[in-house]
């Protein structure tokens, strides 16, 4: 393998590892102890298929990686369905495997939430915590659904501002 190819593969791993990790954790639950192994396995499969020429560029690289990830997740669920019935209880928050970056971000979000004006807190509470849809939130607050979107978007903007500090 040439040095250039090695660098390309390294770049691919750096780029797709977080995306695959996100997809796997979303599908299996962040507490699942097999997540990391599964991510490494998927990355190995991707690298192997590229090296053996199975990826011919018919789709984008992202779609190729997505397909391998989705197939592996489905296989894992099939294999483990019986075993997972007896899986241990999920660990309480904060998840010990949470990265330092996420922990820091969460602290900043908490700070931003506590600084928000009541109207923004209320709309975030109903929309994200109670998971009401825009129309339901609008009915609760006596405003239009469009106004709900504006309030949510502005609240998110304020939170993002805190995250960038």
């Amino acid at each position: 393998m040439t040095r250039k190819m090695e660098e390309d593969l390294q770049e691919l791993i750096v780029r797709y590892r977080p995306i695959i990790t996100f997809r796997v954790r979303k599908a299996l639950g962040a507490q699942n102890t097999d997540c990391e192994d599964l991510v490494s396995e998927i990355l190995s499969q991707v690298v192997e298929k590229i090296q053996t020429g199975e990826f011919r560029g018919e789709s984008s690289l992202g779609t190729f990686v997505y397909t391998i990830t989705s197939r592996r997740i489905i296989d894992y669920i099939r294999e483990k369905t019986r075993v997972m019935k007896y899986a241990p209880e999920p660990e309480p928050y904060p998840d010990p495997r949470e990265t330092l970056e996420v922990v820091e971000m969460s602290e900043k979000v908490k700070k931003a939430l506590s600084r928000l004006k009541p109207k923004y807190r209320e709309v975030l509470y109903l929309y994200y915590y109670q998971e009401l849809n825009r129309e339901e939130v609008a009915a609760r607050l006596g405003v239009s659904p469009r106004k709900v979107s504006e309030l949510v978007n502005y609240a998110l903007k304020l939170i993002r501002k805190e995250l960038k500090r």
């Binding site: 995306i19 779609t63 908490k110 339901e136």
Partner: protein, 215 residues
């Protein structure tokens, strides 16, 4: 970061509200779109923080109190002591006039039907949650607090009484055992009654209905 049409899928994806087709489309998309993936990661942290710390969004009373305090400080710095005293006297006089006039025009207290035989007249309790149809049994029931030393009795029923409990808080967690008895597609109603220290009925809420949607 550019605006992408898939951005509107982010909340639905994280809150598991997308159809299977849209979910797959969005998943394939974020494997290809760095901008959407970055936003997805960020929104995931925001939503998880909200889910894990709802109390940060619930301290409304405290915020209102501090807002009132700052408003008062601004008013106080704007007027002189004499002007404030005069305003106070005027407000007192206005309150006396209102109190003298209003009771004669007051509407009768609302009536609440408790059973076929029993009707009471009294103040109402505002029910906060749940008041709309839901996908799964609610985690808790919440209503507006009436005051101190009040005991609340909550009743949840469909064709018959499903659960009855009392509490001194204005919120009660629905036990798992009751949740398992609540079936998708069924309509339930709930009502709260408030009792004073001497166990007299002091207020009754209206009966609010909600339906658990079919899975």
């Amino acid at each position: 970061m550019s605006n992408c049409k898939f951005e509107e899928f982010i909340d639905g994806y994280l809150l598991n509200k997308l159809s299977e087709r849209d979910k797959e489309l969005f998943e394939e998309h974020y494997f290809n779109c760095t901008s959407c993936f970055e936003k997805l990661k960020e929104r995931d942290v925001i939503i998880r923080t909200i889910k894990n710390h709802p109390q940060l969004l619930e301290q409304k009373e405290e915020v209102r109190a501090s807002a009132l305090a700052s408003l008062w400080r601004e008013v106080a710095s704007f007027f002189t002591v004499r002007q404030l005293a005069l305003a106070g006297v005027m407000a007192l006089l206005a309150a006396l006039v209102i109190l003298a006039v209003i009771p004669r025009n007051q509407l009768p207290s609302p009536s609440f039907v408790l059973t076929d035989e029993e009707t009471v007249r009294g103040s109402s309790i505002t029910l906060i949650s749940p008041v709309i149809d839901m996908n799964q049994p609610p985690a808790y029931f919440e209503w507006k607090k009436l005051g101190e030393n009040v005991e609340y009795q909550i009743t949840i029923s469909n064709s018959e009484v499903l659960w009855k409990a009392t509490t001194r808080e204005n919120r009660i967690i629905l036990p798992e055992e009751v949740k398992t008895r609540m079936k998708p597609g069924e309509r339930y109603s709930w009502q709260v009654k408030a009792f004073g220290p001497d166990e007299t009925l002091i207020a009754v809420s209206s009966r609010v209905q909600f339906k658990l949607s079919e899975k």
